[in-house]
Amino acid sequence: MRAARSILVALVTVAASPAGVSADDVISFRRHVWPILKRHCYGCHSGEKPEGKLSLATAASIRSGGDTGPLLVPGKPGRSLLIQMISGEEPSMPPKGRPLSRAKIDVLKRWILQGGKIDSVAPVAEPKVVIPVEYTHAPAMTAVAFSPDGQRIACACRSEVVVVTTSGTGIPLRLPTRSDLLTHVEFSADGKMLLAAGGTPSRFGEVCVFSVADGKRVLARRVSGDTLFRGGFAPDGKRVALGGADGAVYVIPLDEKSAVRRIELHSDWVVDVAWTPDGKKLITAGRDKATKVASVQTGKLLRTVDSSPERVSSVVTDGVFAVSAGKSRALIGYQLDVALQNISVTGAGNGAKPITRRNQYAKNFEGQPGEVIDIAISGNRKAIAVAGAASEVRVYTVADRKRTATVKNVRVPVYCVALNRNASLLAVGSRDGYLEVFRLPKAERTLSRIPVPMKKTVGSR
């Protein structure tokens, strides 16, 4: 009876083990090697900051190896770093947990012995982006923007952009992307182009530009290893700056070829970026709780103007003030000229020595009723709208920090807000997928709809 169980266990072990390949088999990277690497190594050796700079994400990066050199010496398992790291009494890898079984190491050895060929270029299949014709669950609205003339509103609905008329008439224009999660939409200053940015979490970031007239995609560029976050067009309209998950701001030229600039500023996600109107400075908000100012020309940090007790979600600027807020519910304006007084960047950079103190330039707005998720600034840069977990959206004048309008009973949580040029219209996008438009300052609701088509039979949330 015991023996029977032992045999059963033995059978199961063989079936589950990659050692199931017999001695003469040709080892396939895709079929035999990759499952081992994926299970034991890929978790750390992939992504934005792979451990030891070794990424197993692509065939090329596997071939080139990491900090300590190439992984393989084809034909020589004993001299290959891969085998050295995982074998021995106390193998260096994996750093935690059980060492690889002898059978698995054997498969890797034989693969190297046979030449270590990588027969599959993309070991990790990229998931398809699904954009249903009709949705069962309304996709959360993750970004919203007015056209410069205020006639149209672009909504990011998870993976697609939907452009509706502000009056609610006509058929919405649906613009699918290959990003799982869009985080930013914005019309160009002339209203002809529509920017959509985002990406697929933990895989890539992407920027798309559509021609508004015909809905054609005119540009798509992939950068970074995770989604891009919010940001915006440079005042010259030729570049966009967007936050990255690796702590860098990505300055992306709107053509296929010119180099993308990475400006490393934060120790965690850069969740929002704002240009000063002169195009010389970038204000950034980070999940590392910091609000920072950097020079566009040099790519250097000018000053960390604030460190919040909680993560910061959004930042806007009119050129005089930068305004940021986040989970801590404090909405704070930073007077840039005072904050940056006599700042000079020396040496390797990031060595600026500020002379003013925080209380000389930080000006508190009134406290917010809930976590702030988005701040919008009007086209004329005079008013801002502040929204988030609370059921009201508040509108302020930047210069005097006075509240000018309050829109109550919005659908919570609000993920995104937008103001038109002169702040007479407010667009609110919520997690439940609704777009609502209000006329300011009286807060009359002029539109309330889910912009994507919904299946009729199924109720939405």
């Binding site: 015991r2 998931p127 699904v130 993976s159 979490p201």
Partner: protein, 847 residues
């Protein structure tokens, strides 16, 4: 928190110079100690694995035998067992074959997983080892397929896969921007962070399998936590199903989880055998759910058994252990007893005259273990003297005891020891440690006043409930109340509640200050509920002792309101351990009184029980629950009936500490020899033999002083104080430090280091503590060399002063030979000889 769990003490074998080697060899072969036993035990085990082929008798036991299935997705396991003629459990689940009488109603997998198909009744037929069993199944499915539940489907998976454990996203700051509540304490917060944070990036409702929440643990994208989820596993299907249905919050009013049970509760198996566990959750609507695959299993003693992720227990060594299953922050525990087959075992007659022996023998019989014989008179005299009074008997006491023919002399000895001053020294030292009476936090007068109070309480045998009432009721400065020192030691109310709970309830609450306790269902509500009893207590400088260091006065601010639970931000009303909240005014009364009343009540489930366990541990190598001040459901008592009986006995005696001690030391269990027999050689947990332990620092030093006749001078304490009488640890003594005297900075028994290390051994071999004492001109050795003219007499005196027994004939012969090798250098020979005796493990251990 628990830095040093108490383990059976093993002193390192000391290296000896050539002159001593022979003697030591003789002595140690005489006294087999635990270490050698343990090794032999392992040898014996290696040969015995799977020795018995488990022929089974009688019927199959099929669990469950009846089953009502009301959920289309929730299957149920079957555990099939039978018994051997020797009464042990054989798990036949893996060998059994299963068949359904109506696959249109229920189907069953080859491994015995039952799934509902449609409404009706059917039978699952089980066959194993030629025996038959049946599960009656009734299927009553609801009209509509129930939605996946965040609370009941997703949360258990987050625990099972380890996502919310402390090292991962359960860490207080989360990991990589994603935070879950530790072990699922806060489902609402977890729901929000999963579905809502960062624009809902973790969940994709219209492309569920692309959700980051799934691709990360599946290992499809970079995940520092590695692969936590197998594709298409039960866990994966539950998470995916929930996202597919829109990742919705639970509708209010749904049935909630209420309790957890485990099957089998108690298992007796052989080494190398297996047992599948089954864990059942009960919900508020009365429905039962098999959550075996969603439970997290842990084994308390890993060398005894291992448990797989799915609850299959594999026994490896003889002994016993608890296996705990955790589901929804609730624990259920199964006891495993791993036994050698012993067909010739004859149970020991169960004594009825002593409550200790009765339950210890019952337990030993169930384990096929015979207890060791009783220790001889000399051995008992030394053991009980050391344990009760912290000092060895002197030779004339030994002489008198051996010569005494009264059959009740052991009982009389115990009564005599109660009346000694050393008894007061010994137990006021223990209380002083536990209550942290120390000049580190208290003024000099306060320490001595509290010390005197403790001595008086011990000397008059103050009932323990009254003792606790007075300790916890102190108020004012030294002159008003010596026991106010208890509060003056605390930094704040946190300190006080943790110390009080640990000392008087045996429970460690520190974890629950910041998050739910990981091994017990204590929450921050429970913690701050205790806090609110003590947060009126404050200390200020004692105005009557200006300029005196640490002079404090304990004041009660009656106006202070309840404490605030940081998680909810709300005031937490006082709450006793266990959940009851007494109706107390927020101000104007001293809330400690309610606590003291609850604590010292006869019905208190913690007070007497924890004290019994603690006192027990002072007389044995471990508590009945061990560690002694860590009582919780996941740390079950090794002998619950024994603990219950002693607890009831203590309460019935009116919390009489001496009555408890008397019951313990009068028992045969306490008086067992440390020599094992072939049936209890493996057992070091059930008190079937006396397991030697190292003498505590103070006892060791006092015994050394007594044996050599050379006193120790302590700077920082009044002259003439023995080590046990020292007011606290703020004295200069390398010896006491080296042997682990606690600094009284913690209310934990673990602060006393009872372990052995190389430095201690070196100190005994080369240090002045022994060398200078044996060679002192005015010491014991010098005196005996003068007074004892005959070598034989000298040897006997050296033996009785050092080891508290006479040498055996063989030892005597070896010793005589040793002395003759020194020629006329008798003084030198005697010094070397006593040095060797004091370096023996026999001297260093209570055995």
């Amino acid at each position: 928190m628990n830095r040093k769990p108490r383990t059976p003490v093993m002193f390192l074998p000391t290296q000896l110079t050539t002159s001593g080697t022979q003697q030591m060899a003789t002595m140690t072969t005489n006294r087999p100690f635990f270490m050698a036993l343990g090794f032999l035990g392992m040898l014996a085990l290696a040969g015995s694995v799977q020795a018995e082929s488990p022929g089974v008798i009688g019927q199959l036991t099929v669990e469950p035998s009846q089953l009502v299935m009301t959920h289309p997705r929730r299957g149920h396991s079957v555990v099939v067992t039978a018994r051997t003629p020797l009464g042990r459990t054989v798990d036949l689940t893996a060998e059994a074959t299963f068949g359904s009488s109506d696959p249109g109603v229920v189907r069953v997998s080859p491994l015995g997983w039952i799934e509902a198909v449609s409404n009706g009744t059917a039978r699952i037929q089980v066959q194993a080892n030629g025996l038959l069993g049946v599960v009656q199944v009734e299927v009553k499915l609801p009209a509509a397929v129930p939605r996946h539940s965040f609370r009941d489907d997703v949360m258990p998976v987050l625990s099972k896969t380890g996502c919310n454990q402390g090292a991962c996203h359960g860490y207080s700051l989360g990991k990589n921007g994603f935070k879950l509540s530790l072990r699922g304490a806060d489902p609402k917060a977890d729901f929000d962070s999963l579905t809502d944070e960062f624009l809902g990036r973790r969940i994709n409702r219209h492309n569920p399998s692309a959700s980051l929440f799934l691709t990360k643990p599946l290992g499809e994208v970079a995940h520092k936590g590695g692969v936590r989820l197998e594709a298409d596993s039960l866990e994966h299907r539950l998470l995916l199903g929930w996202v597919r249905e829109g990742a919705k919050a639970d509708s209010p009013g749904a049935a909630t989880f209420e309790s957890l049970s485990i099957y089998p509760r108690r298992v007796v198996i052989g080494p190398g055998w297996q047992q599948q566990l089954q864990v059942i959750a009960t919900y508020s609507d009365g429905s039962l759910r098999d959550v075996t695959r969603l439970s997290v299993f842990t084994v308390n003693t890993e060398r005894i058994a291992a448990v797989t992720r799915d609850g299959l227990v594999q026994a490896s060594m003889l002994g016993e252990t608890a296996v705990s299953a955790r589901f929804e922050r609730t624990f259920a525990t199964a006891e495993f007893l791993v036994l050698e087959p012993r067909e010739d075992f004859e149970p020991t007659p169960v004594p009825t005259d002593n409550v200790v022996d009765r339950f210890v023998i019952q337990k030993l019989n169930s384990m096929n273990v015979r207890p060791s014989a009783l220790v001889d008179d000399a051995g008992f005299l030394r053991r009980v003297s050391i344990d009760m009074t912290g000092i060895q008997p002197e030779p004339d006491q030994l002489q008198a005891f051996l010569a005494d023919k009264d059959p009740k002399k052991r009982t009389r000895l115990i009564e005599r020891l109660f009346r000694t001053e050393a008894f007061v020294d010994q137990w006021s030292l223990k209380w002083g440690d536990l209550l942290q009476n120390s000049r580190t936090k208290l003024s000099d007068p306060a320490v001595f006043a509290f010390r005197e109070w403790l001595r008086e309480a011990v000397a008059t045998n103050r009932p323990l409930d009254q003792f606790a009432r007075e300790v916890l009721g102190g108020q004012g400065g030294v002159s008003e109340s010596p026991t106010a020192a208890f509060y003056a030691v605390s930094n704040d109310a946190h300190d006080t509640l943790q110390r009080t709970t640990q000392v008087f309830c045996g429970i460690r609450m520190l974890c629950a200050r910041c998050h739910p306790h990981p091994f017990e269902n204590w929450t921050q509500e429970d913690y701050y509920g205790l806090f609110s009893f003590f947060n009126q207590v404050a200390t200020k400088n004692d105005p009557r002792l200006p300029g005196v260091k640490n002079a404090k006065s304990v004041v009660i601010n009656l106006k202070t309101g309840f404490g605030t639970n940081p998680r909810s931000g709300q005031a937490q009303p006082p709450r006793f351990l266990g959940g009851r909240e007494p109706k107390l005014a927020t101000g104007g009364i001293d809330r400690r009184e309610a606590y003291i009343g609850w604590l010292t009540s006869k019905d208190n489930p913690f007070f007497a029980r924890s004290l019994v366990n603690r006192v027990w541990s002072y007389f044995f190598h471990r508590g009945i629950i061990d560690p002694v001040d860590d009582l919780r459901s996941t740390n079950p008592a090794i002998n619950p009936k024994l603990l219950d009986a002693l607890t009831a006995d203590l309460i019935a005696s009116g919390f009489d500490m001496r009555h408890l001690m008397r019951t313990i030391v009068s028992s045969r269990t306490y008086q067992r020899s440390s020599v094992a027999n072939n049936s209890n050689i493996h057992d070091d947990m059930n008190f079937s033999r006396f397991v030697p332990r190292r003498l505590p620092a103070e006892t060791l030093l006092d015994c050394l002083v007594q044996a050599t006749g050379v006193p120790e001078k302590f700077s920082g304490a009044p002259a003439g104080f023995t080590a046990k009488q020292l007011p606290d640890a703020n004295i200069q003594s390398d010896f006491l430090k080296l042997f682990g005297k606690p600094q009284r900075m913690e209310a934990c028994e673990c602060e006393r280091d009872s372990g052995a290390n190389m430095l201690q051994a070196l100190h005994f071999i080369n240090g002045q503590s022994i060398l200078s004492r044996v060679s002192a001109g005015n010491g014991r050795v010098a005196g005996l060399v003068k007074s004892e003219k005959e070598v034989v007499g000298l040897i006997e005196r050296l033996y009785t002063w050092s080891l508290c027994r006479r040498p055996t004939d063989k030892e005597q012969a070896v010793a005589v030979k040793f002395f003759s090798s020194y020629g006329d250098k008798r003084q030198e020979a005697a010094q070397d000889f006593m040095w060797a005796l004091l370096n023996s493990r026999e001297f260093m251990m209570v055995h």
